[in-house]
């Protein structure tokens, strides 16, 4: 399950935000603090998580202190499912 979530999130970010569909995003690669994704993407990411995994992320949780890489975001999703 965790692997599926990681893969789906990685593909979504690579395709939609970076426009590099072949790009692999490592599970521990920093996303927000590194500047790979920026604040304009956060709402899209939370909509994607809600629509695909049925987990709601509050807007106050959308920041680098809640999650900064795919591992952390996946753990966040698993904990709420």
């Amino acid at each position: 399950m965790t692997d599926t979530i990681l893969e789906k999130l990685g593909t979504y970010i690579a395709t939609e935000f970076l426009r590099q569909p072949d790009r692999l995003i490592k599970p521990d690669e920093p996303l927000l603090s590194s500047g790979l994704i920026d604040s304009f993407h956060l709402v899209d990411l939370s909509l994607f998580v809600e629509n695909n995994f049925g987990v709601r992320i509050d807007d106050t949780e959308l920041n680098a202190s809640s999650f900064d890489n795919l591992n952390q975001l996946t753990a966040f999703i698993n904990a709420r499912q």
Binding site: L18, R19, G35, F40, V43, D59
Partner: protein
């Protein structure tokens, strides 16, 4: 009224208990601030500035988030007769070294005497300074400022400022923007508020609602100075909260019976696309009477999407208005859609591009739908000039020039830039457009400037950031903007020539460029395109020709069947 402080004295005397601002920040209860509280808080700062030896006419730089601290520090500077300037806030994503370099560049040109910031930024700010060598004599930490104090108006130097004295500075972001501070006099700003207040037909029922940043004219003038000085309630949110939860704007309008807002074009798309229905339960938008689209190219499609999405909540079509504005004119030049719905027309694209004439299209032609920005506000004149400086007739496209009673005094400490901006008493905007019976339409820009979500981005700043990435060579990158229909604003594209062919290495360079730009500027790149040399088109002087590179990129994308 000759200066800002007189307005505060009057509010304090006549309506001290009226709520001036309601601050709505995520995770905090709503915080109403009356004029009494505002003036007491600002008076505390007057004492602090006095203690630190700040003189009237000195520049005070504010590096603070939307907060009571910012409110008090800003208007404290006003009452003290100093010149406040709000600097974009340091966010977590920005590289400290880059921020430091920008701040040092700003200090070198603007020569502020004091900087007010939070304790956690003190080290960052001090790292950009050269004690004893630069102009900064005090770094004031907000929690060390004196708390609310009864005002002693007789002692306030702000009350003795002359109408022609500089009231404030406005900067746009990035290394280039920060070195060009727009200096505005009390008189110019007061004239603008009077002219613009009439244009939008302000009434006692008006309530302003805004999430806009305050280092930008739209936020600072329309959604900060205008309501606060003229005495209209303001509901103020934070841009950081809004971008994560755009529904908060609509909830605030509903709860506070908001009537007026200003938004950059992308915000119409952002709200229409990204707000969940459940976040709109019970929201009523019927009080909203003017939402002015301003600060970046505006699209009929964006208005339409916004209207269709929120019409069920009581949004009226007539509430969608337009405005053409710039910091150099304090704010608004034109306003559309107040007395009559916003006008639009379908222009023949071919004739517009080849003959520079805006001709209404015949059926079957490819069209560009143009939204009118409205007619000039009071005491403001607009003309269109050709490249020789000759005025053009209606429907001929040329550079937009402005004359008004609310023009900038100059670019602060930049007489060279000020001189270049005016020709025969006309301010040349750098925008292209045309007039039809007084209605102004904007068709494009003369400069390479990119506008993303209302923020001005200078491509040379982003190219410089890319040159710091290993594998990218100086002079071999080009940055430009391309309008994105889905988001309603420009995408920023960077093309760089690299000598490396290994795909893994190229990914690394792409990431490096993306990270350098996101962390070093106010925008993120939408597209990083690595190419093999020779690809870039250069000018005769060896500089990258951005518009030619943009055309080449578009052709390649179209050939590949991808977007744009």
């Amino acid at each position: 009224m000759p200066n800002f402080s007189k307005f505060f004295q009057r509010h304090y005397q006549q309506e001290p208990d009226k709520v001036s601002i309601t601050m709505l920040f995520a995770g905090q209860p709503a915080c109403p601030v009356t004029y009494r509280q505002l003036i007491l808080g600002a008076s505390g700062y007057v004492q602090t500035y006095t203690q630190y030896g700040i003189q009237p006419g000195d520049v005070v730089l504010l590096i603070l988030q939307h907060s009571a601290d910012l409110l008090f520090a800003y208007f404290g500077a006003v009452l003290h007769g100093a010149i406040p300037s709000i600097m974009p806030f340091l966010t977590g994503k920005l590289l400290p070294e880059r921020y430091r370099a920008d701040l040092a560049a700003l200090v070198a040109v603007t020569q502020p005497t004091a900087i007010v910031t939070y304790r956690e930024f003190e080290l960052e700010v001090r790292a950009a300074l050269k004690p004893g060598q630069d102009s900064v004599r005090a770094v004031i930490i907000s929690d060390q400022a004196k708390g609310p104090t009864l005002p002693d108006f007789a002692s306030f130097e702000g009350l003795r400022r002359n109408p022609e004295d500089i009231a404030l500075l406005q900067h746009s972001s990035g290394t280039t923007g920060l070195q060009k501070g727009v200096a505005l006099s009390h008189q110019a700003i007061i004239n603008q508020l009077n002219n613009y207040g009439k244009a939008i037909r302000l009434t006692d029922a008006d309530v302003f609602v805004s999430w806009l940043p305050l280092y930008h004219d739209m936020g600072l003038i329309a959604c900060w100075l205008m309501p606060i000085l003229l005495g209209y309630p303001l509901v103020l949110m934070s841009p950081f909260d809004w971008i994560r939860a755009p529904h908060r704007l609509l909830q605030a309008v509903s709860e506070y019976k908001g009537t007026l807002s200003w938004l950059p074009n992308f915000a119409y798309n952002f709200c229409a696309q990204k707000i969940r229905d459940r976040d709109l339960d019970g929201v009523d938008l019927s009080t909203w009477r003017a939402i002015s689209n301003c600060s970046e190219p505006m699209r009929w499609e964006s208005h339409h999407a916004f209207y269709e999405r929120f019409r069920p909540l009581g949004l009226r079509y007539e509430a969608l208005t337009t405005c053409y504005a710039m910091a150099e004119n304090v704010f608004a030049v034109t306003q559309g859609g107040i007395d009559v719905p916003v006008v639009y027309e379908d222009i023949d694209r071919e004739i517009l591009q080849t003959k520079k004439i805006a001709q209404v299209a015949q059926p079957g032609q490819i069209v560009v739908r143009m939204l009118g920005t409205g007619k000039p506000i009071l005491n403001t004149r607009v003309r269109i000039f050709n490249a020789k400086g000759q005025p053009l007739a209606d429907r001929q496209v040329g550079e937009v020039a402005v004359q008004s009673d609310c023009m900038l005094t100059g670019y602060y400490h930049r007489p060279d830039a000020t001189e270049k901006a005016f020709v025969d008493g006309w301010y040349l905007t750098g925008d292209f457009g045309y007039l039809v019976g007084g209605e102004l339409y904007i068709t494009g820009r003369k400069k390479d400037l990119i506008i993303v979500g209302g923020k001005n981005i200078y491509p040379q700043d982003l190219e410089m950031l890319a040159y710091e990435v290993p594998g990218v060579h100086t002079g071999r990158a080009s940055v430009f903007g391309i309008f994105n229909e889905a988001t309603g604003t420009e995408d920023v594209i960077l093309v760089a020539e690299v000598d490396i062919s290994d795909p893994g290495q190229r990914w690394k360079i792409e990431d490096g460029i993306r990270t350098a730009v996101t962390r070093g500027s106010a925008v993120a790149l939408r597209y990083v395109h690595l190419v093999n040399p020779p690809w870039l088109v250069k000018t005769s002087s060896g500089k990258t020709a951005r518009s030619a590179n943009r055309e080449k990129f578009l052709k390649e994308m179209q050939a590949k069947g991808q977007g744009y």
